[in-house]
């Protein structure tokens, strides 16, 4: 169920591709919207569903909005939401995992019960329900994602640190008078770091997918905002006139998820 220590077989080709794709995507998301300087919301009803041109590199959608501008602003939204929710899931998740294995007893039992409650439902179903408390708002989506994702860090950290904290080397450190901070920093974190990174990459992929999935079924981010899933819903009716338009957000989504998977060597921790 939980990731074993990842093998370090250097920098494989797959990882290299993953890293470069991720770097490219991040660059596009951060700098892209300013660089092309086109408002993703500006409509031009005289120029709808156009193919690529010098003015609109990737064409225009059904309301004449620039596709490239919308894809870039969608990338910004998706990646920012994913990064944010992974961060707010990883920090408490890891910390609580260490706490649980350090103290044991009721602390551990209570935290495990909470984690089991989150895991009782399939992840996307929980995100869907939590986001539905306040439909359409990005913070509900963000809170739902973080609340769903933290469990993996918790379970992994708890499992691993239980083993590591009982190792002779840790005992030696304790006997030498080193405190908790030292043990966590020097013994625990170097061991669990790579595993946490793998979980983070898959978590980010889950977040990007969930944002788009919810947007696609009209219960996530709301329409005027440029979001990949929302764009897919809006462009689906025009597949016949402009199949290349609907394929663009699909491709963006697939490349993002693929890049995240490749960056940690594809193998999901199971």
């Amino acid at each position: 169920m939980l990731p074993t220590a990842p093998q370090h077989n250097g920098l494989s080709v797959a990882r290299l591709i993953g890293y470069s794709l991720l770097a490219g995507l991040a660059l596009c998301a951060v700098k892209g919207p300013d660089l092309i300087g086109i408002d993703p919301a500006r409509q031009s009803l005289m120029h709808t569903l156009q193919g690529p041109s010098a003015e609109h590199w990737l064409g225009t959608d059904h309301l004449g909005r620039d596709m490239l501008a919308r894809l870039l602003s969608g990338a910004q939204l998706s990646l920012a939401l994913a990064a944010l929710s992974v961060l707010t899931a990883a920090l408490p998740g890891t910390l609580l995992g260490i706490l649980a294995s350090w103290y044991g007893g009721w602390t551990e039992r209570l935290l495990t019960l909470f984690a089991d409650a989150v895991l009782a439902l399939p992840g996307l179903l929980l995100v869907l329900m939590l986001a539905a408390i306040s439909p359409g708002s990005w913070w509900a989506l963000y809170a739902g994602l973080s609340l769903t994702l933290w469990v993996e860090y918790f379970r992994y950290t708890r499992q691993r640190s239980r083993v590591i904290l009982s190792e002779p080397s840790v005992e030696a450190s304790r006997l030498l008078g080193f405190g908790a901070t030292h043990i966590i920093k020097r013994h625990l974190l170097p061991e669990i770091g790579p595993g946490l990174l793998t979980i983070a990459a898959f978590g980010a992929a889950t977040a990007v997918t969930a944002v788009a999935a919810l947007g696609f079924v009209s219960v996530g981010i709301r329409p005027p905002t440029a979001e990949w899933g929302v764009m897919m819903t809006q462009l689906l009716p025009y597949w016949r006139e402009a199949p290349f338009l609907i394929l663009q957000p699909v491709l963006c989504l697939v490349v993002t998820v693929l890049a995240l998977h490749l960056s940690v060597g594809v193998r999901r921790p199971t």
């Binding site: 089991d116 996307l124 329900m129 016949r240 998977h261």
Partner: protein, 318 residues
């Protein structure tokens, strides 16, 4: 005396999971109710008496009757209490009892889930066996690449791509709806392809591992043909990880059912859930989410039992 202690702990684990599903769904639905804009007493009174007949007095009657003036904690306890009695209430949109709607939808969803798993096995098992018999061969590497790419395509994107590629382009299959068995093909294929992306690799690993085992060599040495060895020993040993992996994939199946049903307008529980969220129909949201969650638990239990039945090593002797 041979007793299956592993079986009982599995049963207990799934039972507590079912309770957790109910509590989580209940609490989240209750929060959804609380977050609805406006005074819920007015809303319910309007639903009962009609917007014209409703006034402050009738809203007050509703308020005291349903305990809406009580503190939130008491209201939550009442809410969970009625959930424990399996009183799911009525849909705010159609007015029908939620339980009645669920009965119809659950069948549709289970049909889709079953068909999806079946399609995934039809795709994954032959490919996995062929790839596993020659690890590192051309087929192994091609299917690995395909699996990596396919894994990165979310279910709804896969649905859209299949829809564009098959249904509308070739005019072969109906795109959406639920009139004929043909309508099942696209949603089941979407679900099945997504599942097969990973499970084909699981089959491949299981087969290649079994082929490398000592007992495989032994069965050849004692005179069994390669076909007999494959059928009697290799495939039988490879079955367990494959079935166990269906258990791991059940979360994907349930999530896939929610999304795929929405893409193809398949009238199942997932479609109903998304609709209910969109229409702020809290009773329906709670009912459908509960049904999906409990289905997840029951399917997991079935997989537990299957693994238990197949693998004698899991039955501990006390």
């Amino acid at each position: 005396m041979i007793r299956s202690s592993g079986l009982w702990s599995a049963l207990a684990g799934r039972a507590s999971q079912a309770v957790l599903v109910a509590v989580v769904v209940g609490v989240v639905s209750f929060s959804m109710m609380q977050a609805l804009p406006g005074d819920s007493a007015y809303r319910i009174a309007a639903g009962r008496y009609g917007y014209d007949m409703m006034d402050a007095a009738s809203a007050d009657v509703v308020r005291t009757e349903l305990g809406l003036d009580k503190p939130t904690s008491v209201q939550l306890a009442n809410w969970l209490g009625s959930l424990a009695r399996l009183d799911l209430g009525k849909s705010a949109v159609t007015g029908n009892a939620v339980a009645d709607e669920l009965k119809v939808q659950l069948g549709h969803s289970l049909l889709l889930a079953g068909a999806g798993i079946l399609v995934s096995l039809i795709i994954a098992v032959p490919i996995g066996i062929a790839a596993g018999l020659r690890p590192g061969g051309a087929l192994d590497r091609i299917t690995l690449g395909a699996s990596i790419v396919l894994r990165a395509v979310p279910a709804f994107a896969l649905g859209v791509l299949l829809m564009l590629a098959l249904a509308v382009h070739i005019k072969l299959l109906p795109v959406a709806g639920f009139q004929s068995p043909k309508h099942l093909i696209l949603p089941a294929l979407t679900l099945g392809l997504g599942l097969a992306a990973v499970s084909s690799r699981v089959v491949r690993d299981a087969v290649s591992e079994a082929m490398a085992a000592d007992w495989q060599l032994f069965s050849r040495t004692k005179g069994l043909s390669s076909g007999q060895t494959l059928r009697r020993h290799v495939l039988r040993n490879a079955t367990l990880p494959v079935i166990a992996y269906i258990g791991v994939q059940l979360a994907y199946v349930i999530e896939g059912v929610v999304i795929v049903e929405s893409v193809f307008a398949w009238p199942g529980i997932g479609h109903a859930l998304v609709h209910a969220i969109f229409g702020r129909d809290v009773a329906m949201v709670q009912g459908t989410a509960l049904a999906l969650g409990l289905t997840y638990v029951v399917l997991n239990l079935i997989i537990d039992l299957c693994c238990h039945g197949i693998d004698p090593r899991r039955r501990s002797i006390t």
